[in-house]
Each structure stands twice: as C-alpha cells, then as structure tokens.
C-alpha cells in the first residue's frame, strides 16, 4: 500500500511529470519542484503508466539534487525499456523484410517508427506491441507467413477469408510466445462504426519513410499519421501522456511538412472535427504545441472542445496523483467517450450501431461461408442475449 501524500506534494508530482515531458524541460524548475517530491515511487510508477518513463529519466539526468540510489534504480528501469524496445524493433524489421520479400507492402504504425520519427531514437517511447498495416487482400498471406516463423493467433487465420470479418473488423492480432511479441495486423485503421467515412489514403505514394538501423521503413503520410494519432488519442480519452507527447513532437518537428488546410478539410469530411480539435487543444495546453492562429481561434470558440479539454486535463492530473489509469471498460468512461461525439445524432448512431452492428466477436463464434453471412444478425442477437440477459439472471 502506498503512503498517503499531502496535497502540495501531489500537485508537485503532476507538475514535475508534465515538465519532464516538455520538448525542453526547464532544469531550474525541475530542481525546484524535485525538492517537494516526497515519494519517488509514485512518480516513477505514474511515468511508467503514462508511457513517458524514458522522458522522465532523460529529464532527471540534468537534476543534480536527486538521490544517487534513486537514479541507479531509474537507470535500470530505463535500460530494461531500451532493451525491450530494441528487441521489438529488431522483430519489426525482420517481419517487414519477410513480408516485403514476399511482395507484400507493409506499413508500420506507432511503436518504434513513431519513436524514431518524433524522438530520433527508438528507446524514447514506451510501446508494448507492434502495429502493421497491409492491404486487405494481403492479410491471409501475411498471417500465413507469420505462422511460418512461429506466430500464433487466437483465431484461425482462415477467418481472414471471411468477407464479413473483413468488413466489420480492422485488425487481427498474432503473438510469438517465445519472443513475447504481439503484432496487430491492420487492414484498415478505423471502424465504420467509429468513423462515418474515412477518406485517408493509407497506401499513398507520398507515405513517409524513416530509417531505422540502416533499414527504410514505410509509415503513413505525416498528415494522415497526425490525424490517426488524434483520433486514437481522443478515442482513448487521452488517458496516457505519451499520446499527447506524440502529437506535440510530431507537430513541432514536421509542422511545415503537413498541409493543414487539407487536414482540416479531411477532419470536416470525416465528421471528426471535435476529436481533431480536442487532441490539438490538449497538446497545446500542456506542451504549448505550436499551432496556427486559425486552429487556435477555432479551439477558443468551440465550447464543447474547451469543456472536454478541461475534463481531460483534470482526469490526467487525478490519474497521475492516484497513480492509476482508469480502464476504458468502465461505464463512466464509456459515457465520457460518447460525450465526445460531435452531436446528438452521433451519440444515437453510436448506441444503435453498438447494439445492432455485427462485431468481430460475432464472426469469431462461427466461420460461416460468405453466402450465409446474413446469419450473423441472429448470432449477434444471441450473443447480446447471452451476454446481458443470462448474466443478469
């Protein structure tokens, strides 16, 4: 059980963590606030949960007043993260080589590639799995190749020939137990039930390429990557500081390479302006992310975005102090996410689709041939009945 801390110490802990995540942390401020921190364990655990431990460690190296024993412990944790990241990165490069050698265009998202793009270093970002995007038509072949090198999936890969799954799902996870590596294979990034229409060209000729260990890796075009990260973060209520840091650094480093007019139009067309501006607002508030006057003016005039931003900042502060992160499964959080929907129609649509639309788990119950796919509707009703009514009894 963790000792109770007093209010000023709790506030210091939050302030300290935020300062460590700035692009250039202020050493004077860190020195000053560090003297108010009574429990380094809480800070370390919070940083780890928020996915920003490497940034905390990097910032702490400039603070001379920190106990040497604390620094030794932090150095060990940092080394463990770095080793794990190296192992995951080597695996990513190896899998990409295998797929490319078999004629499969493979796009890496988040994970080591994002770390390399925004920090220039694969060890500065925490990640627990790898995300790869391939064309829908390449999914089965990709997973078949992965099975050949020891990966196993929870569901048989023959499901990847099921047209209903390909329509209602977006990814297929597979794991290498011995290496302890989970790869999520995506054939799309957004579900229809979350995004009304996605007009992002994921396989664009202008996709971004970065070099890791002398190997060129393809990722999304930078604007599309930013849009994806903004949606991903908003969908998860920005519960990890790491996701907000991603937005800040990506914009700082590549601001001029992003066509903001195109991005804003895409957000409008996809009807995701709320989530788009919310992510930018949170990042701007915490890390002073450079944004155009037009974007700032839009945020300042959007009361819903401002209200949600305040709620998110309060939640991050509370989570940091309590040293825990609330799971997304709670009803409370579900409602918060629903409140993020752009309008009332959005909520209604979300509720109805949640109830009636066939989900991946319905398909995984039985692999029906494509001509029998309408039978997934009664299967969905049966699953809902079993999940809700029978559980109540």
């Amino acid at each position: 059980m963790k000792p109770k801390t007093n209010q000023p110490a709790q506030a210091a802990l939050y302030d300290f963590l935020i300062e460590c995540c700035q692009q250039t942390p202020n050493p004077m401020k860190l020195e000053q606030v560090s003297s108010e921190i009574s429990d380094w364990d809480i800070l370390v655990d919070s940083a780890y949960l928020h996915g920003v431990f490497p940034l905390l460690f990097k910032a702490l190296k400039s603070v001379e007043t920190i106990d040497e024993r604390v620094m030794v412990r932090l150095k060990n944790i940092n080394l463990q993260i770095a080793r794990r990241n190296m192992m995951m990165t080597a695996e990513l490069l190896s899998v990409i080589r295998l797929l490319n050698d078999n004629g499969i265009r493979t796009i890496a998202i988040k994970g080591p590639v994002l770390s390399q793009i925004i920090h220039g270093d694969i060890t500065q970002r925490q990640f627990s799995d790898l995300d790869l995007l391939v064309e829908q038509c390449d999914m089965y072949k990709s997973l078949e190749l992965l099975e050949g090198i020891g990966y196993l999936s929870e569901h048989p890969i023959r499901f990847l020939k099921n047209q209903t799954l390909l329509k209602v799902g977006k990814d297929f996870p597979t794991t290498h137990a011995e290496k302890n590596v989970l790869i999520e294979f995506h054939w799309r990034l957004f579900l229809d039930r979350h995004i009304k229409k996605s007009n992002i060209n994921l396989f664009s000729d202008s996709n971004y390429h970065c070099v890791i260990n002398n190997t060129t890796v393809e990722t999304l075009e930078l604007g599309a990557l930013l849009l994806y990260l903004l949606l991903h973060g908003s969908k998860h209520y920005w519960e990890r500081l790491e996701w907000i840091v991603d937005i800040d650094r990506l914009i700082r480093i590549h601001h001029d390479e992003i066509d903001w007019d195109v991005l804003v139009t895409m957000a409008q067309d996809m009807e995701i302006e709320f989530m788009f501006y919310l992510g930018l607002a949170v990042s701007h508030e915490l890390f002073h992310t450079p944004l155009s006057m037009t974007i700032i003016a839009h945020i300042d005039l959007d009361h819903a975005v401002l209200k949600a931003k305040e709620a998110i900042l309060l939640e991050i502060k509370s989570d940091t102090i309590k040293n825990e992160q609330t799971g997304l499964v709670s009803l409370e959080n579900l409602n918060k996410i629903l409140l993020m929907k752009d309008n009332t129609n959005g909520w209604m649509r979300h509720y109805l689709l949640t109830l009636l639309q066939i989900k991946e788990l319905d398909v995984y119950m039985v692999n029906l041939p494509n001509f029998l796919s309408p039978l997934y509707y009664p299967i969905r009703l049966y699953r809902l009945f079993k999940l809700n009514v029978l559980r109540l009894k």
Binding site: F57, K61, K75, N78, L79, A82, R83, M86, M87, T89, A90, E91, L93, S94, R97, D121, I122, T123, K179, N213, N214, T215
Partner: protein
C-alpha cells in the same frame, strides 16, 4: 583473419546508444552486448567500412596508437564479434 578480411554486418544486428552505453542486439540469437568506449568507436567505424584495413586506417587517422597494437586489437575485437554472430566474414578462396 587479417586486416584484408572483408566482412558484413548481419541484418539481424541492431545498434543503439542507451544513456551512456552502446548496446548491440542480435535478434538471431536474442543476445545483448554492451560495448565499452573503444568498442563503440570500433563499431562505428565498422558500420561505415567493409574491410578491417578500412577500420585500421580510419582509427589510426583519429587516434595516436601503435600500429601493431591497433591491428591486433581490431582483429581480436572482430573475432569476438564474429563468434557471437555480430559480424560475418567472407571466406577467402
């Protein structure tokens, strides 16, 4: 092995600076190696060359060191790396 030996670095080997250390990871055997300061200098030179002679020339230009000793150090270091699968040497006919 001589200074004329040609080598390649396997694609399974990953180099990364972490804090004040330089780590090598070989995904072929899952082993990590920590390089000391001189080892890191050797490796940096190795990644930009393809014969031990190139490494010798590059390091001899930068550091004041006895030629025989440097040649021996490079060969010993390279042999150790090769034993761990971190370097592949071309077999000479």
């Amino acid at each position: 092995m001589t200074l004329d030996s040609r080598y390649t670095i396997p694609s399974t080997v990953l180099l990364q600076s972490v804090d004040d250390e330089v780590l090598l990871f070989n995904s072929a055997n899952g082993l990590f190696f920590t390089l000391n300061e001189m080892g890191a200098v050797f490796w940096q030179s190795m990644s930009e060359s393809n014969t031990l002679q190139d490494i010798f020339n590059s390091i001899a230009q930068e550091y004041e060191v006895e030629a025989d000793l440097l040649a021996q150090d490079i060969i010993t270091f390279s042999q150790t790396l090769a034993e761990q699968g971190l370097l592949n040497f071309e077999t000479q006919d």
